[in-house]
């Protein structure tokens, strides 16, 4: 098991390096920081633009190789360069990373769990009303774009808050500004802020997982080994969970990793709509500002996140399916 994971980690490090380098090269050759400065009013003198660009390692007159070498040297020492506004990319990323991670982590995990449960119920009650209901709802969610879903959730939350007479579920920002009180008060406050945005990510995730889990479960329902388990005297429920669900979960582990990429796209909308200052929001803004280093940093972040998800799914896979361990 240890050797298996170690091999995977080495694999992933290679992939992260590759992805980030390619991400930088793409951003550096397609974004144009010079224009960002040139469009300022009044237009600054060319010499001063060049000086700023040089200082930020963004000058398109410097050969790409040299800029890349300069950037790469920084990255190796943990310095991701400067943003176009001359602040530290690393510092900015440190501030925003936690915000996004919190959303994504809760969104994926709860989404996967709920989806698996729904899919399982749907499969063992195939063609019954509960199956039809779950199927209908999951297709409804799947065909609703994240931004529409988020807006609908916002409207729903307003109704709930009105009904409760207090701001039960705040939906703007990640914390209440100027909140006084102890750490517990802060924790609860952050938790409350987390509910609605997480829900917007979770719903799509759960809908998708429920579809996959349903068909994976249907595949194993007729399997001979469930019949064997039943023939030893195991009752239907335990046999379906211990022998059916256990086996049908294996392909879900892989899906979990690949879903991460999709979810990072979704999180951009969620952050924008709910006013969270996370990585997704920063990414979109950075492209608008022609900010090469910030975009490269975002690529690094995405790569790491997807590969962490890959590692998690490998671990889950190895735990569920002992055959892959050796």
């Amino acid at each position: 098991m240890g050797a298996f994971l170690l091999r995977r980690i080495v694999n992933y490090l290679v992939l992260i390096t590759l992805a980030t380098c390619l991400g930088y090269l793409l951003a550096a050759s397609s974004l144009s920081p010079r224009e960002y400065f040139a469009q300022r009013q009044p237009p600054p003198p060319v010499a001063s633009v060049n000086a700023t660009l040089n200082q930020l390692n963004l000058n398109d007159k410097t050969p790409l190789e040299d800029r890349f070498a300069h950037w790469a040297k920084g990255v190796v020492t943990g310095d991701l360069g400067k943003t176009i506004d001359d602040t530290s990319v690393s510092a900015e990323m440190g501030r925003r990373m936690g915000v996004t991670l919190r959303l994504v982590l809760f969104g994926t995990i709860s989404g996967a769990l709920v989806g698996v449960a729904l899919g399982f119920i749907s499969a063992i009650r195939q063609y019954r009303p509960s199956d039809h209901t779950i199927t209908f709802l999951s297709f409804l969610v799947l065909s609703t774009p994240v931004f529409l879903l988020a807006v609908l959730l916002k409207i729903g939350t307003v109704k709930i808050n009105q009904a409760a007479g207090t701001t039960l579920l705040p939906y703007t920002g990640e914390t209440t500004a100027g909140l006084a009180g102890g750490w517990f008060r802060h924790l609860v406050d952050r938790g409350q802020h987390l509910v609605v945005p997480t829900l917007s990510l979770m719903l799509g995730q759960a809908a998708l997982f429920s579809r996959y889990q349903r068909s994976a479960m249907l595949d194993v329902l007729g399997a001979d080994y469930i019949r064997t388990a039943r023939a030893t005297g195991m009752r239907r429920g335990p046999a379906l969970v211990k022998h059916g669900l256990r086996t049908a979960l294996i392909p879900m582990a892989t899906l979990f990793a690949y879903q991460m990429g999709m979810l990072l796209t979704g999180v951009t909308f969620t952050e924008k709509i709910f006013g969270w200052h996370g990585m997704g929001e920063w990414f979109v803004d950075s492209i608008g500002r022609q900010d090469v280093n910030a975009v490269a940093a975002m690529v690094l972040f995405t790569a790491v996140l997807i590969l962490i998800a890959g590692l998690l799914s490998d671990i889950a896979h190895a735990l569920l399916d002992p055959r892959v361990r050796d």
Binding site: Y225, A231, M234, L320, D321, R323
Partner: protein
């Protein structure tokens, strides 16, 4: 109704909701009882209801099945119990052993855990105690090094070992009844012999009654005390096994028995075959379901279904003509073949329902027998010399490294003369199919040489225009595979399937040839516009044969051509192949693991083990006087469908599994000496150290034996084989 019966099934009916609201009756009135320590066989073909009835008995049918009648276990009625009550009986009182143990064990649990779980379902024991008991059980069923193997996963076990695990699970809670559903069907004959021994051990250890569900009459003869023969959901005959085999009272049973190719019969005897195919449950009419295929049917049979009537002590048969003293085994008109004579009546009777095409027997050609025997010694159509096919065995996903070699074919030499049949036999993994595929590919072999129809493949594949020059060779060699449904494109009508090879080879007008081909294999020309799924299994195989013959090949490769077919239609296909060979002068390369079938068709036989031929020669001579210990063991493992013979004969049960052809790099020991010796009963019995030393140090080459153009690869061909392992002792 006897009181000591542990399981008593009375008038069991099972039906499923069918199309258009018409229920499909899968079991129609089955009754049987088994006592402790007794073995009852339920024999039938696919669709006879034999498996459904056992699933009904333990309450594991899907919920849409309607089950009526009575199933009493130790006097307690089981039908109508809820899942909770039934679960207490399943596994503890009545245990099951299923077919195909690869899919029957949950892949993610260690086999020890699986057995322990089966124990803990019924008993309040600690997991340690359950695990210890699991190891004991594994030892009982003959798993070597059980404590370590208990920690292995099902995929790390061979098919035979997995089936042992299934049996261990079944006896874990000391059941009173073990229902074994086709327990040896997917296994090699050598392993089948082992598993039957293990079942016998299990029966001894628990004193349980065994209900053995099978289609293999050979297994019934050797293992069961009584048998019930099922046909179209009904029992048609029940009897003690000796009586059943000696004097069947129902034409279906008689037909099954006489259509079996037997090891103890000679070559080329025409098999009596039952025309047609088992009926589908949807098309059962009012009369006896067997009447359309029965040579003895009278008008009454077509209108009224006979009851199963007691005709003697423990004997019953369902036939209107039981009392008439007909000689069922002889057939109505002597040996000329009931099937052939009956072919005119069969189609009309069966084709009235659903318009399903029926399977008329190939029209007998009286003159066919008169055609001169093929000239033996004529030019060879296939010559293989020292053929080698090794695959690298690699490990690792990114950096692949070679860790060994799969020596699939490791020096095989064969000859087939025009118009003759060579059979390749061996266990799974012996290299039969690889050899055949190497020949069919028509490529330069990795090692050695292949010459097809006088064309050396290495020469053929050199220079320009390989494709064009290979065309006539390709047309001269054809193949028929095991599963006709998988080898016929389901979306093409049969006419197009047959025309395809013709068009590929540039023949313009195909319609006439397609008609001719269909008639040649005993189908109607009007069937050309039907799709493969509209035919029965036997008919599909006839289509596959017709397609193989389209280009008038001289060599046909038959890879397990009857293994996927029901017993009662096998004989028809084998007879058809024999007729075609005589009429068209075809040469066959016949691959089979079924030695009884091979005995029936082969002129010459090559026995393969680990990619090598260990015995080769004239079929009669090899079967009657096998010289290589492996051949002897293989032949001895085949059950003979005759309880008297089967119970008396001594058997060589080979220990262990069919060996793997994998040789790891650097494992020089694996290649040293005779590679069969790890399982060889002769080697195990050799007393002189120098004789053993010879086996250990030198790989035996094929050496001529006797005068009958035979050879075998063994150092001690003349040694007497004392190492007959007695029944009841397993490795």
């Amino acid at each position: 109704m006897s009181d000591d019966a542990v399981l008593e099934v009375t008038d069991l009916h099972v039906s499923f909701p069918g199309e258009k609201g018409r229920p499909l009756a899968a079991v129609r009135g089955l009754s049987y009882q088994v006592r402790r320590g007794e073995t009852l066989a339920i024999v039938g073909e696919s669709g006879s209801g034999k498996s459904v009835s056992s699933m009904a008995a333990i309450g594991l049918l899907p919920t849409n099945a309607k089950v009526t009648g009575s199933v009493r276990f130790r006097g307690r009625e089981l039908l109508g119990l809820n899942d909770k009550e039934m679960s207490r009986i399943r596994g503890a009182g009545i245990a099951m052993v299923f077919q195909d143990p690869l899919s029957a064990l949950t892949p993610v649990y260690r086999v020890g855990e699986a057995i322990a779980a089966a124990i803990r379902v019924h008993r309040e024991v600690t997991s340690d105690a359950a695990m210890r008991r699991a190891v004991e059980l594994l030892e009982l069923v003959g798993i070597p090094d059980p404590a370590r193997r208990a920690l292995a996963f099902p995929h790390e076990f061979s098919g035979g070992m997995r089936q042992r695990v299934m049996i261990a699970m079944a006896i874990a809670n000391d059941p009173d009844v073990i229902i074994a559903d086709e327990p040896t069907t997917a296994l090699d004959v050598t392993v089948q012999a082992q598993i039957l021994e293990v079942l016998a051990t299990a029966k001894q250890a628990t004193g349980a009654a065994i209900v053995l569900i099978t289609h293999d009459l050979g297994v019934v003869a050797g293992f069961a005390d009584r048998a019930a023969v099922m046909y179209a959901g009904r029992p048609v005959e029940t009897a003690a096994v000796e009586e059943l085999f000696a004097a069947p009272k129902m034409p279906y049973t008689a037909g099954l028995l006489s259509s079996l190719p037997r090891l103890d019969a000679g070559r080329g005897v025409r098999l009596r075959s039952i025309p047609g195919a088992p009926p589908s449950l949807a098309e059962l009419g009012a009369g006896c379901p067997f009447a359309p295929r029965c040579a003895f049917a009278v008008d009454l049979c077509r209108t009224t279904e006979p009851e199963l009537l007691e005709i003697g002590q423990g004997r019953a048969a369902a036939c209107h003509r039981t009392g008439e003293g007909l000689d069922l085994m002889a057939g109505p008109s002597g040996d000329s073949g009931l099937a052939d004579q009956d072919s005119d009546t069969a189609p009309e009777a069966a084709s009235d329902a659903e318009g399903a095409p029926t399977e008329p027997e190939a029209p007998a050609k009286p003159e066919a027998a008169a055609v001169a025997e093929p000239i033996v010694g004529a030019e060879p159509v296939l010559t293989v010399r020292d053929l080698i096919k090794h695959h690298p065995l690699t490990k690792g996903s990114i950096i692949r490294r070679r860790i060994g070699t799969v020596r699939a074919v490791d020096g095989v030499s064969l000859d087939i003369a025009a118009g003759t049949t060579l059979a390749l036999v061996g266990e799974s993994g012996s290299g039969k199919t690889t050899t055949v595929m190497e020949i069919l590919r028509l490529r330069t072999p990795q090692g050695g040489s292949i010459s097809v129809l006088g064309q050396d493949l290495e020469a053929l594949n050199q220079g320009r225009g390989v494709r064009r020059r290979a065309q006539p060779v390709r047309a001269g060699i054809a193949a028929v595979f095991q599963d006709p449904l998988a080898s016929l494109d389901p979306r093409l009508p049969v006419g197009d399937l047959l025309a395809e090879p013709l068009r590929t080879h540039g023949h313009g007008k195909t319609a006439g040839r397609v008609r001719e081909l269909l008639e040649m294999v005993g189908l109607e020309a009007s069937h050309a516009n039907r799709f493969p799924r509209e035919f029965s299994g036997g008919q599909r195989q006839r289509v596959a044969i017709a397609r193989a013959l389209a280009l008038e090949p001289r060599l046909v490769v038959l890879d397990e051509p009857v293994s996927a077919l029901d017993v009662s239609v096998r004989a028809g296909i084998l007879n058809l192949l024999a007729d075609l060979q005589r009429e068209l002068g075809l040469a066959y390369l016949f691959v089979s693991h079924d030695l009884a079938v091979v005995r029936h068709v082969a002129d010459r036989v090559a026995v393969l083990n680990l990619g090598r031929i260990v015995e080769y020669g004239d079929a009669d001579s090899v079967f009657e006087d096998p010289r290589h210990p492996y051949t002897r063991a293989l032949l001895s493992a085949v059950p003979v469908p005759d309880p008297v013979v089967e119970r008396q004969r001594e058997r060589i049960v080979l220990p262990g599994d069919p060996p793997s052809p994998v040789v790891l790099d650097g494992d020089a020991e694996a290649l040293r000496g005779c590679r069969f010796r790890s399982r060889c009963p002769l080697y195990a019995a050799l007393e002189k150290p120098e004789a053993r030393e010879l086996c250990e140090s030198t790989d035996p080459a094929l050496t001529p034996v006797g005068d009958a153009d035979r050879s075998a690869a063994c150092h001690h061909l003349d040694a007497w084989v004392p190492a007959l392992v007695q029944s009841g002792t397993v490795a």
